[in-house]
Structures are given as structure tokens and as C-alpha cells.
């Protein structure tokens, strides 16, 4: 049973400030592994060949796996492995062995492991993380994907009565989770470039602790290809937000599943045969993360294989400072345990000498990004042909991700209502935008047979106590968007936009 160890060459703190006051009561009260003391005594024992009759771990000779083989795309075609995969389908087999040499042998992979995960997989992902993200002083922990990671992060910092900050349109699959244990959300105003730093600051300055309880201490954001708006935070905004986080002592939960799907970047020189040069070119097309600027250790970054390998991989990783890393490890040991052998073996072999290596994985990522960009181009082309001419909707080209945020001009609808009243609560709707939106959503689904998610699904409820009273446009009145995903086939995208155009005409011309 391996004990959690941090690299000895990472000294404690090393410029990282003490953030332990952010932990929830639950996290604070969590006991480390009860066997830890025993394990320490055992590890301090000078006897070299200890016989252990301590653990109920099935012996590896009883694992019914001798070998596992995975069929992957060959990344031999350096320019476009994704298209090659879908055309010729040339396959490369990678193997996990029990009895032969490989990056993560079966006999190790299927054992019980602790906290951060199996060392071979953790090391492979740490190498990748260091190369691509260059975190100043952080540690990698494996997760079952970003839902798993993020909800663990929420439990680490949130308890009843707390407020968390996030984009005013956010992903309810995640934001709903801490509601059940009494954490509330404060939505921060966005524009097409994501969270507006000045608005974030206003919320914090204006926060009345007497009325609302403790000032929010955690910001949850999806900074690249934000879900649902598709926005990407610029470097300038990231720096501003980080500075605000330092001033107001915030933790930043950087949830980045679409990080590698960033469009309209200068094409990496794919003819470059030199792996290091390719990687260098590739990383130069990536936007600096909050993690990379995290001198304080206040960023917890969540990466996942869901969108770049497959959702059912159920594997991701969290990069964070030492304290949070240990606390997350304790929580993992007290709940899900580290991830499954299959995923850890697959990723370790994929990144190894026998697989794609980091360079090959980057080629896959680059190719994937081009593939999604093609679909984005198609969607926008058909949108321009079928939807834009109606005059009822428009869309901006997103910098990244899988979503376009389609703005619908409900004010053009015959039944659009705008109440001109002054005074009253700044968060109560002045228009029937949201009602019309829901109606449009249902019509499109039931009559046209196309599903887009209405912005109302994503809107974080506002509270009059934390919005500016003067000139604030209630979120409800700004909830005038449909989220469209372009992850489907070309046929679906084309048909979907055609049906949208038709549906809009029928809706507005009733």
C-alpha cells in the first residue's frame, strides 16, 4: 500500500501563502487515513524484508487480466490524425501487460491505491502538465473527470451559508451541486469576453457581510470556451481577475475542459519533425492559464480527458498547491478512492514511449481543434445563410469550445412587453424576455424538432442585496440567448441551423 508522498525537492510553502483558512469545516475535520500512524511506524521500521499480513488486498496473480490492448488512431500522419482516423482508420495498438515491460503494468495498476493515484500515471500527467502549463509550485492529483474534481473542490471550501462567485450564465450541472448543502451562487456580469473584472470587484466591494454572511471566497470559472456563452477570458482580464483574487483573498477554481479547443490560432508548423519543436510551437498557441500565473497558490485547476478523448473515460486531474492537494487526497481516500486502473493504464501507455508520447497527444489535440473549427465554420456559414437574414438572431464567433451563444431579438416579437416602471427591486424582470425564450425553446423542440438550450437554464438567480441598484438591467431581461453545440455531425449542424431559421420565422411572424 503506497503512502502519499510529495516530492522531497518541493520545500514547504516556497512563496505560497497560507490558505488553510479557506477550508470548510468538513475539510478541516476530516481525519487522515486512520492507518496513517500505523503506516508511519511501519515505514520507520529498520527491518528490510517485512512480511506483511496486514491488508486484504487480492494478490495480483488472481487478477483475471494478462493483457489489455487498445486500438488507437495512428498519429503517424503528422498533419491531421483526426481526419485520417475517420477515413482510413489506421490503428495503432498499445498494450498493458502483466508480465512484460510497459509503462504501467497490470500487476500494479489493479492494486488499491491512495489519494493522488498510481505513481506511474500521476508522473506521466505531471510531466504533461509541467510541459504545457508550467505551474509555479503545484501538485497533480487524478480525478474521475471534472465533475468529480469540481464537486470535491466545492466540498473542500463550501459549507452552509457560504456564497461562491461564478459567471452569471454558468453550467447548472455543476452549480446546482453545492445548493443542496446550503451554498449559494453570486453571478458576475459578463460580456462577450467573459466575466468583467470591474464587475467582479464591485460585487466584492459592495458585499454587506451583516446582511449576507461571509464575503464570497471562491470564484468558479470556465475561462476557455465558457459554458454556455462560449467566451474566452483574455490574458489581460485574467491578470486583472488574479489581482482581484489576491486583493480579496479568493480561491480560483479554473475548470478548463475546452482548453485545447481554441480556434483561429496561427497554425503550428506540422511539418516539423522535431518533437520538441512541435510541442514548443503547439504550446505557443495556447492561452496562459490562471495556473501559470499562480504565485500565491490560490488557483485550483481542473483538466479532463472528457472532451479530448471521450466522456466515458472518466479521468481528469487537479493541479493545486500542496495543502489543497493533500486535503483533496484525504477526501478522495474518504470517498471515491483514486480512479480506475483501466483509465490510468490507458493514459499512461498513451503518453509513453510505446504510445503517442506527449508530442503525439499534442498532434491529436491540434487535429481535434481543426476538426471542431471546421464544424464551427460550417455552423456559422449555414447560420449566415439561414438565420441571420431573418433579422431575428445573431451570433458572434467564439474563440474556443463547443458552443455558440445565439442572441435572439425578442424585442421584435409582437408580444414583447416592456414595463416602464422605476423603483422597485433591481432584479425583477421588466420584460417578458424569459417567457418568450422558453416558448421559443419549446416550439423549436416540438414543432421544428431541434433542441437548443435556453439561456434561462444557465442563469444564476440574482439577489437585490448584491447588485447595483442604479441602472442595473435584471439578468432575466438579458436572458435572450440559445446555446447551440457544434459537436455533432455536419448533417446535424446544417439541418439544425435550417430548422432554427424556419422556427424563428414562424415564432416571430405568428
Amino acid at each position: 500500500m503506497e503512502e502519499q508522498r510529495i516530492d522531497d525537492n518541493v520545500t514547504s510553502n516556497n512563496g505560497v501563502i497560507d490558505l488553510s483558512h479557506h477550508l470548510s469545516d468538513e475539510a478541516r475535520n476530516r481525519l487522515a487515513n486512520p492507518l496513517k500512524d500505523i503506516m508511519r511506524v511501519i515505514s520507520e521500521c529498520p527491518v528490510t524484508d517485512l512480511i506483511t499480513m496486514a491488508n486484504g488486498d487480492p494478490h495480483h496473480s488472481l487478477y483475471p487480466f494478462q493483457q489489455i490492448m487498445y486500438g488507437l488512431p495512428s498519429v503517424q500522419d503528422p498533419s491531421d490524425p483526426v481526419t485520417s482516423w475517420n477515413n482510413s482508420g489506421r490503428t495503432q495498438m498499445i498494450h498493458s501487460y502483466r508480465d512484460q515491460e510497459c509503462a504501467l503494468p497490470i500487476r500494479n495498476a489493479f492494486q488499491y491505491s491512495r489519494a493522488a493515484g498510481l505513481v506511474q500515471c500521476k508522473d506521466a500527467i505531471t510531466d504533461f502538465t509541467n510541459l504545457i502549463f508550467a505551474p509555479p509550485n503545484h501538485h497533480v492529483m487524478l480525478t474521475f473527470g471534472n465533475s468529480d474534481g469540481l464537486t470535491k473542490v466545492f466540498r473542500l471550501f463550501g459549507q452552509k451559508g457560504d456564497h461562491f462567485l461564478t459567471d452569471e450564465f454558468s453550467f447548472p450541472g455543476m452549480t446546482n451541486c453545492p445548493l443542496a448543502y446550503g451554498v449559494k451562487w453570486v453571478g458576475v456580469k459578463m460580456d462577450s469576453g467573459g466575466i468583467i473584472p470591474e464587475e467582479l470587484e464591485k460585487v466584492l466591494i459592495r458585499w454587506d457581510e451583516a446582511k449576507l454572511g461571509r464575503r464570497p471566497r471562491l470564484l468558479y470559472t470556465v475561462p476557455v470556451g465558457q459554458n454556455p456563452t462560449g467566451s474566452t477570458l483574455s490574458v489581460d482580464r485574467r491578470k486583472k481577475i488574479y489581482a482581484i483574487a489576491q486583493t480579496w483573498d479568493l480561491i480560483i477554481a479554473e475548470d478548463d475542459p475546452y482548453y485545447f479547443l481554441r480556434y483561429d490560432v496561427p497554425q503550428t508548423n506540422c511539418a516539423s519533425a522535431d518533437p520538441d519543436e512541435f510541442i514548443k510551437n503547439f504550446t505557443s498557441t495556447l492561452i496562459p492559464t490562471f495556473l501559470s500565473m499562480d504565485v500565491d497558490g490560490r488557483v485550483i485547476r481542473l483538466d479532463t480527458f472528457s472532451k479530448v478523448l471521450a466522456p466515458g473515460m472518466r479521468l481528469g486531474w487537479i493541479t493545486s498547491n500542496k495543502l489543497f492537494h493533500l486535503k483533496l487526497g484525504e477526501y478522495t481516500d474518504s470517498s471515491t478512492q483514486p480512479p480506475h486502473a483501466f483509465g490510468q493504464m490507458f493514459v499512461t501507455e498513451m503518453l509513453s514511449e510505446h504510445g503517442w508520447k506527449i508530442e503525439g497527444f499534442c498532434r491529436w489535440l491540434r487535429s481535434l481543434r481543426l476538426e471542431y473549427q471546421n464544424r464551427l465554420d460550417l455552423l456559422l456559414d449555414v447560420f449566415q445563410r439561414e438565420v441571420e437574414p431573418t433579422g431575428y438572431a445573431s451570433v458572434k464567433r467564439p474563440e474556443a469550445g463547443m458552443f455558440v451563444w445565439i442572441e435572439v431579438f425578442f424585442e421584435k416579437h409582437p408580444r414583447f412587453v416592456h414595463e416602464r416602471c422605476s423603483g422597485g427591486s433591481p432584479v425583477v424582470a421588466r420584460t417578458n424576455t424569459e417567457c418568450l425564450l422558453k416558448e421559443l425553446f419549446e416550439r423549436l423542440m416540438n414543432t421544428q424538432g431541434v433542441v437548443f438550450l435556453p439561456a434561462s437554464t444557465f442563469a444564476i438567480p440574482e439577489n437585490a442585496l448584491w447588485v447595483e441598484s442604479d441602472g442595473h438591467v435584471p439578468l432575466s431581461d438579458r436572458t435572450r440567448f440559445l446555446r447551440a453545440a457544434f459537436a455533432g455531425t455536419e448533417d446535424m449542424i446544417e439541418k439544425g441551423m435550417i430548422r432554427l431559421g424556419k422556427g424563428l420565422r414562424e415564432f416571430f411572424q405568428e
Binding site: 486484504g56 490492448m69 474521475f144 450541472g173 466515458g312 474518504s334 433542441v451 438550450l453 459537436a487
Partner: protein, 506 residues
């Protein structure tokens, strides 16, 4: 916020006729579980799936053409061997390859396995396990949800059922890594006395009938038990005890968390060869395996936790929870709000293994029977060597375990010169012997002689009710030993143990 009611509820196991529809299970739930919202995106997704021809541009799910895995092949033992585990270990047996594909026919396509799904897990896998449940337990009316193994399932059940300040019941020696997990949730443990045969039902009754809500808070409504190869004591509850415990649970309205990872590792079974030949391994095993709490659960108060960890491998990170459909639904909501459904490769593997191209359910039970024989051989070796090298001195004794991996070795400290049974407790209700100190000394002595066994103190749950009558530290004169290692480990380990005991006592 758009909310659409979910259309379909969780898949039910085969209904053998008992209606549970009017029982209100919501009162058992934690405040958190009661206020949890379903995932609104999944609700919309379900509705969108209903109408054929609907184009779903609502979800950001990568298309399967972009999954960079077209096949996964698992090289596994052939189940045609007479004794598959022996053949596998010795390397003499045949192998099978079972495969899952993205673009070719198989039991569970990678297109499905690698997509997002619902928290409960894929229907094919749930159905296969529900079928196994039916053949082994014949549960009255229950639903299967997949888990990431029993630690995951159990800790989710804690969140589902426990509020801060709640008291939960458990065996006084238990799997403390799990009971510790409940503590930061504000749950406190109330230990129940055990004897050689496990949890003592009359003590459970005593605790519940003496419970004073004014002084102690809400009466416990959850019992956590490991009925087979109890961890750490290795005992297996008899049918009679299980029925008594279930009756008490019924009387006092208790939910039973049946944590059963060792259920399929049973010894001295006397499996009928003729039944195997006539009806197959599943029926033959079902006839001799213990009666689970699930099998007698007419109230729907049992949540049974099964795991592949001990019968396939720990790294599978896969198991299944069987409970009434209301709890299953709430559990799935929690899963959708946290870890999500299990990984595709694990589900694909189980589907292929239990499918017609793999071992099938009967073949799986054949592997399990073979595994039982292997573990039994090691148990027998352990007990033989124990008798020869340890028991002869009289310093330690052990019962023969009927299942699982643990032997609970009693150290007869009363033979020790420095054993004291009449100490004044340092705190009221504290220990009156120096058992804990002597055991600590012995543990370190064993360590220095090169042997690790787990001391009972690691697993001890101290009583806080003040009504147990004796402090558990007076009863920690045990080691938990496992017989999962090689024959050499067992022989050398027990030789060292015997020798060390002699040094310690003399």
C-alpha cells in the same frame, strides 16, 4: 430556470410481486438529499430523446467518430478449464480474448460506453447485475445502480442518509477508514458489541430500547454492517442472527447498509456437483451462499453494496448498489451531482465478461467458485501453520473464518506477567486493564521481528453513550491477519509470530 420533469425513473429489478409504492422513504434522507435538485440538463436530454428525428444541439457531447479508441481487448482466463484459477496462476491454462468495439458488434459498444450517461450506469450492465442479484438473492423489489466500488457507495450512502448530529450504528470493531469518513459529515458512531459470531443482536436491541432522545439526540436510523468476513473480526453472521437483526431493524425503523465485498469468497460450501451439471454454477452457488439481508428485505430498508474489488481486482473501481427504487433514484441524483456514472471501459468489460461472448453469468460464478477454493486452500494452510506454530503455546487463539480474507487472532494477555485487570480508569468509564499498552508493545515487537499485522485498536469504535459497561480498550487484545499472500508469506509470517509471542510472554 427551465425545469422539465424526468420522464422515466430508474430501471427496476424483476418484481416478484410485492408492492412498495406507498411507503414513504423520504423521512430517512438527510436534509441535503431532500433538497438536492436533479440535473436540469439531463432532464432536457431525456425529453429530447423521446421524439425520434429530433436534432439535439443542446449537448456538448463529443461525437463518437472523435473517440480515439476503436477497440479494447482484454486477455482473460479461459473459463473452460476445470479449475480456472489454478490454471491461471500456474500459467498452464488457456486464455480468452474478450473485446469491445466502437464500430463493430459486441455486447456493449464503445460508442455507448464512452459517451456521457446517467448516474446509475448503463442499462445493459445494470440489467446483467440485476439478473445476478435475482439468481442469488431473489430480492423482493429492488433497483440496481452502479458505483465506483464500496468505499464510493458507502460514503455516498452516508451523505444520503446522515445529517450533522445523527448517530449511526456499527459493529464495535469495524472498517475504520469508512467510519472515519462519516465523522466530518457530523455523524457519530454508536458501537454494538460483538462475539465470535459477529454483531450481537441483543446488544443492538439494548442500545435502541435504552436510547434517550432528550440526552442523546435523534435515535439512530442507520446500521452499518459487514455481514460476511466482517472487517476486522472475520466473522460471518448466521442466518438466525440476520433474521433477528432484520426484525430489530423493522421494529426500530432502521436502514441497513449491507457492505458485502467478501460475500462471494465463502468456504466449506459443499457445492453440489450434480446441481452444477444440471443447472449451472449460479444455481449451485445460490443454494449454498449465505442469505443476505437483501434477500429478506420486504420493507425496502436494506441498501446492499456489492463490489468487484475482491473478486476481480481492486482497481476495477466498480460495484453495484441494490436498494428500493426511491433510494436508488436519490443515490443517482447524488452521483449525477458528483462523481458521475462509472467509466466506460469498466462497464464495457463487465458487459462483455457477463455476455454471451465472454464467461456469462455462470462462467463468472465458476471463476468465483474456483477463487473460493484458492482462498480456502490458503485459509487452511494458515490455520494449519497457526495450530503448529502458534496455538500450541496457548498465548494466542483463532477461530476458523467461514469467508473472506481475515483471521482475528486473540492474544491471551492474561498469561502475561505484566497484565493487570484492576487498574483505576483515568476517566470515568475508561479501560480497567492495560490491554492497549501491552498490545502496542507486542505490535512493535512483531514489527522489529519483521512481521506486520493490524492491531485491533486500529478498528476500535469507542462507545460514547456511556452505557456499554466496559471500555473497548479492554478488548483490543486481537490482531487482524490476512491469508492473501503467498504460501511462503503465510509460513514465514506465522513462524515469526509464534516466536515473537514466546519472546513477549516469557
Amino acid at each position: 430556470m427551465v425545469f422539465l420533469p424526468s420522464t422515466a425513473s430508474a430501471t427496476s429489478a424483476v418484481d416478484v410481486g410485492l408492492k412498495r409504492s406507498h411507503v414513504d422513504y423520504s423521512r430517512y434522507l438527510s436534509a441535503e438529499a431532500r433538497s438536492r435538485l436533479p440535473n436540469p440538463i439531463k432532464s432536457i436530454w431525456k425529453v429530447a430523446q423521446v421524439k425520434p428525428g429530433t436534432i439535439n444541439m443542446g449537448n456538448g457531447d463529443p461525437h463518437h467518430t472523435l473517440y480515439p479508441i476503436c477497440e479494447v481487448n482484454f486477455v482473460v482466463p479461459s473459463i473452460d478449464e476445470h479449475d480456472p484459477v489454478q490454471s491461471w496462476r500456474s500459467g498452464t491454462g488457456e486464455q480468452n480474448i474478450i473485446s469491445s468495439y466502437k464500430d463493430e458488434p459486441c455486447a456493449l459498444s464503445l460508442r455507448t460506453a464512452f459517451a456521457y450517461g446517467a448516474g446509475a450506469g448503463l442499462k445493459d450492465v445494470r440489467d446483467a447485475l440485476a439478473d445476478l442479484n435475482d439468481r442469488i438473492h431473489s430480492p423482493p423489489n429492488h433497483t440496481v445502480s452502479l458505483s465506483l466500488g464500496n468505499a464510493d457507495a458507502l460514503t455516498k450512502c452516508f451523505r444520503l442518509l446522515g445529517d450533522p448530529g445523527d448517530s449511526f450504528l456499527c459493529e464495535e470493531f469495524t472498517f475504520s477508514a469508512m467510519t472515519n469518513a462519516a465523522l466530518p459529515l457530523g455523524i457519530e458512531w454508536v458501537p454494538i458489541r460483538m462475539d465470535n459470531n459477529g454483531l450481537v443482536p441483543s446488544d443492538l436491541e439494548r442500545i435502541l430500547s435504552n436510547w434517550d432522545e432528550a440526552k442523546q439526540g435523534k435515535r439512530p436510523h442507520v446500521l452499518y454492517t459487514i455481514p460476511c468476513s466482517q472487517n476486522p473480526t472475520g466473522s460471518t453472521l448466521s442466518l438466525e442472527r440476520r433474521q433477528q437483526i432484520y426484525q430489530i431493524a423493522h421494529d426500530w425503523d432502521i436502514i441497513i447498509l449491507e457492505d458485502d465485498p467478501y460475500f462471494f469468497l465463502q468456504y466449506d460450501l459443499g457445492v453440489s456437483q450434480s446441481t452444477i451439471q444440471q443447472y449451472g454454477h449460479t444455481r449451485a452457488m445460490a443454494e449454498v451462499l449465505p442469505r443476505s439481508f437483501l434477500s429478506m428485505d420486504y420493507d425496502g430498508r436494506v441498501m446492499r453494496l456489492d463490489s468487484f474489488s475482491k473478486i476481480v481486482a481492486p482497481g476495477m473501481r466498480l460495484g453495484w448498489v441494490t436498494s428500493n427504487s426511491y433510494f436508488a433514484d436519490k443515490l443517482d441524483m447524488l452521483t449525477d451531482s458528483s462523481s458521475q456514472h462509472p467509466h466506460g471501459m469498466g462497464q464495457a468489460f463487465v458487459a462483455e465478461l457477463l455476455g454471451s461472448n465472454g464467461w456469462g453469468v455462470d462462467g463468472f460464478m465458476k471463476w468465483i467458485l474456483s477463487l473460493c477454493n484458492e482462498y480456502q486452500r490458503r485459509r487452511d494452510l494458515f490455520m494449519d501453520v497457526f495450530r503448529q506454530k502458534v496455538a500450541t503455546s496457548g498465548f494466542a487463539t483463532a477461530e476458523v473464518p467461514q469467508s473472506g480474507m481475515f483471521v482475528w487472532i486473540k492474544i491471551n494477555l492474561e498469561h502475561h506477567a505484566r497484565f493487570s485487570a484492576s487498574q483505576t480508569p483515568t476517566v470515568p468509564g475508561g479501560p480497567t486493564t492495560n490491554t492497549a499498552d501491552l498490545m502496542d508493545e507486542l505490535f512493535r515487537k512483531l514489527l522489529n521481528n519483521g512481521l506486520v499485522m493490524m492491531p485491533a485498536s486500529t478498528f476500535a469504535i469507542a462507545d460514547r453513550t456511556g452505557m456499554m459497561g466496559s471500555h473497548i480498550n479492554d478488548r483490543v487484545n486481537f490482531f487482524r491477519a490476512t491469508f492473501v499472500g503467498t504460501d511462503e508469506t503465510i509460513r514465514n509470517g506465522l513462524a515469526t509470530f509464534g516466536r515473537t509471542l514466546e519472546e513477549f510472554f516469557l
